[in-house]
Amino acid sequence: MNLAQFLAGRLVKGVLVLFAIAVLNFLLIRAAPGDPAQVLAGEAGAADAQLLEQLRARFGLDQPFLTQLWIYLKGYLTFDLGFSYRQQQPVLNLIMERLPATLLLTGAAFLVSLVVGTAMGALAARRAGKWSDSIITTLALAFYATPLFWIALMSQIVFALKLGLVPNVGYETIGANYTGLARALDIAHHLILPALTLGLFFTALYARMMRASMLEVAGADFVKTARAKGVSQPRVWRRHVARNAILPVVTLAGLQAGQLVGGAVLTETVFAWPGIGRLMFDALVQRDYSVLLGVFFISSAMVVGFNIITDLVYRIADPRIEASA
């Protein structure tokens, strides 16, 4: 099967999956108790029937259920993600406003964890049984098992409060009005803690995965053959072991990449990072249906997209794999 056929097949499937997800999301959200009008009125500490009625009409909740579903789907077919009455903004604007911050955070965490994790895993495999291996595997196990929010808060207390090295929350220094390079550096300074915190878990995961996978491959017959032929040790590890051991890591990276949009809720919350994850979480507790559905949709589209990309990367990493639709 050639590449074009493969892609076409996957895209058609992807669109169908997205449609099903969109409908399911709508039904699931409506199954949760409460509605946005009631929440908004409840937060105000005072309400009467007339206010609730006015708000429900604004949210379009006075329409029959199927009409609401139809309006929602019709909007999505024309790339209109709807309007959030609560925030007085089109959903697409709200998402686009938050997307750069999230991509910066998750992208940085993704790169750091992929590079550091794979390297650490490879190093540990090479030194299996030695003390450097023990340190790496112990650390990897510890970070793999520690809850993210705990690391997040502890890192704030240690690095921001006690040592004063980095700011504890936020995206940039509020009120400083930096521009250009100064602003980029300021944002990078704010990015350090959240990106490392978010990246730690995946770093640990990659390290463990890479180590296990390399040790498995290192015992394979073709590696013994290579050694017997007199191929140099570094070359065996690089060309024969590492290349064959990377596939599970690619799978994992594909999964992590799929979460680039929606996977940082906790980190964004603890570090007050103005990203999509918080937009989604706030929308959830406020039952701001249109925003929630919009974020869900973009996140699902990312997952579907990255699954296709992962399959393509498989073909590059291991040409023996025939991508099949």
């Binding site: 409460g34 509605d35 936020g170 603890v270 007050a272 918080r278």
Partner: protein, 522 residues
């Protein structure tokens, strides 16, 4: 120097003396400066006429203004109204407006705006002003450009308390008249008359307010800028204060157990003032429709069984005060001439036995506002099980709670309500039978109904003098404290923690909500 508060158990008397000390050594305000304040959660919008959420009020109360403002004793003070007169029959209120007031877009503020706001805009959209204007007000008229006359159907004592900025913010007629209010694009760019203007709202990060250079009160405000920072995690907010990122932690923005620690930091002041208008009152609502909860003896038994002191001292870290009845001791018309309940498990057992309780499980609906409330639920469950009452705690999220509370789906429900400056506005609503309606968690959701109480509240609202009102309210407090339609647990305190070099921050009955007009930074 203002005295630094080190103790947590801050008595009202102590707070009063510190305030007096602060006033005695008042300095000349310094001009300029920026203050960073925490606001939590992020407000949904800043158009205060359309939304009165707590965080909205904190920010927007410095953008919008109302006819009056209220000091910490809840006495009315001039704001957009320079002066006001009440006719001898207490039915006509005449407000004289300040001269030279401009909206943030430069248009003049006149009596037309006041009439539009009170008679049209808020009557249509404001859930607290609507019932008042519909039931009490005969007409609202412009006398001249700077005079407005409100004629009542009958004397209504609380009228003078209705003009707080969240209750009646003045809305620009030239922007809203004839439009669909809730769809007006101007809702994103609020235009008020207040001391600060909205410069930028970076969603998820901060709200930036800047000084209104054309503010009508010459020389005010002192500050140049306010940044309201949005930091969703309570522990991270505390660290942000400690690292100097923010200067003010507004009421309720840090965990109760952090208050004592943060208050002891250098250059840190703490006050529980600035909440007098709201005077939040926390309680458990028994659903009197549900079997044994309709029995007065059983409810009294519950009240004796609950260790309310423990709730205040341990769960709430010593903040607040035990209430004696429906009216907060911080507001007018409070009376302590009522039956009192102490922690007395033996007496509780007796009453519960006499009530005919047969071991039914009581569902306790927890208020999902964080750790403190969950602990309170657990301690009360233990208190009640000690006297043989079976309790099952129900947990849900905020929308789930709102729905269950609104639709009467509970046996016992936690809640806390604002008193809003007068029992006719903030208290009666929880006890009168005409307010038994589904769909609103702040209505009379327990379903208590007593014609005597209905009549006392109705008469007290329109009794012509304060003395007559007091007599009726004293009576109703006595009846309610005996009948216990709700179990009052705590007069809550929400401490504001701030750097001591931010001066004059809390000077009114709504604290930071309108406090930045006079605040300055040393």
């Amino acid at each position: 120097m203002m005295a630094r508060v080190t103790g947590l158990r801050l008595s009202l008397a102590l707070a009063a003396s510190i305030f007096a000390l602060g006033a005695a050594v008042a300095q000349e305000p310094k001009k300029g400066g920026t203050v960073h304040v925490v606001v939590q959660p992020e407000p949904p919008m800043l158009m205060q006429g359309l939304n009165q959420n707590g965080p909205t009020n904190m920010v927007a109360g410095n953008i919008y203004e109302s006819l009056l403002r209220y000091n910490e004793k809840l006495e009315p003070q001039p704001s957009l109204a320079k002066s006001w007169e009440i006719s001898p029959d207490a039915k006509v209120y005449t407000f004289k407006l300040q001269e030279g007031v401009k909206w943030h877009d430069g248009k003049p503020f006149t009596a037309d705006d006041v009439v539009f706001t009170l008679d049209k805009f808020l009557r249509d959209v404001h859930p607290r002003w609507r019932p008042i204007v519909n039931a009490q007000v005969e007409k609202i008229e412009k006398v001249d450009d700077l005079t407005v006359k409100i004629t009542l159907k009958q004397p209504f004592g609380p009228m003078v308390m209705t003009q707080e900025v969240a209750s009646a913010p003045m809305i620009p007629k030239h922007i809203y008249d004839g439009t669909d209010y809730r769809a007006n694009p101007a809702n994103n760019t609020p235009i008020g008359t207040g001391p600060f203007k909205l410069k930028e709202w970076k969603k998820g990060s901060y709200i930036h307010l800047v000084k209104n250079e054309d503010y009508w009160l010459k020389g005010k405000p002192n500050l140049d800028e306010i940044y309201w920072q949005i930091i969703p995690d309570a522990a991270a907010r505390a660290v942000a204060y400690e690292t100097g990122k923010v200067d003010v932690l507004t009421g309720g923005s840090v965990d109760v157990y952090d208050v004592a620690r943060l208050s002891k930091l250098p250059n840190t002041c703490m006050t529980t003032k600035g909440w007098e208008m709201f005077a939040p009152h926390a309680w458990l609502t028994p659903n009197v429709r549900n079997g044994i909860l309709g029995n007065k003896q059983f409810r009294q038994g519950l009240m004796y069984a609950i260790d309310r002191e423990f709730g205040k001292d341990v769960v709430w870290g010593g903040l607040g005060k035990l209430p004696t009845g429906p009216i907060s001791s911080k507001t007018k018309f409070y009376s302590d001439d009522v039956p009192k309940y102490t922690y007395d498990p033996a007496k509780a057992k007796e009453l519960i036995k006499a009530s005919g309780y047969k071991g039914e499980t009581i569902r306790l609906l927890n208020l999902p506002y964080g750790e403190t409330w969950s602990r309170w639920s657990e301690s009360i469950k233990q208190n009640l099980e000690d006297v043989g009452v079976k309790v099952q705690i129900e947990n849900t999220d905020v929308p789930g709670w709102t729905q269950k509370a609104s639709n009467w789906d509970f046996d016992l429900n936690f809640n806390f309500l604002y008193q809003l400056g007068d029992p006719a506005m903030g208290v009666a609503r929880s006890y009168i039978s005409s307010n038994i309606a589904k769909g609103n968690p702040f209505a009379n959701v327990g379903g208590y109904s007593n014609p005597e109480v209905d009549k006392l509240f109705a008469d007290a609202a329109i009794a012509p003098t304060d003395k007559e009102r007091q007599e009726l309210y004293t009576k109703v407090q006595k009846v309610l404290a005996d009948e216990l339609p709700v179990l009052w647990l705590l007069e809550m305190d929400f401490p504001t923690i701030y750097r001591c070099n931010v001066k004059n921050l809390v000077t009114t009955g709504v604290g930071v909500n309108d406090g930045f007009r006079d605040a300055w930074k040393e």
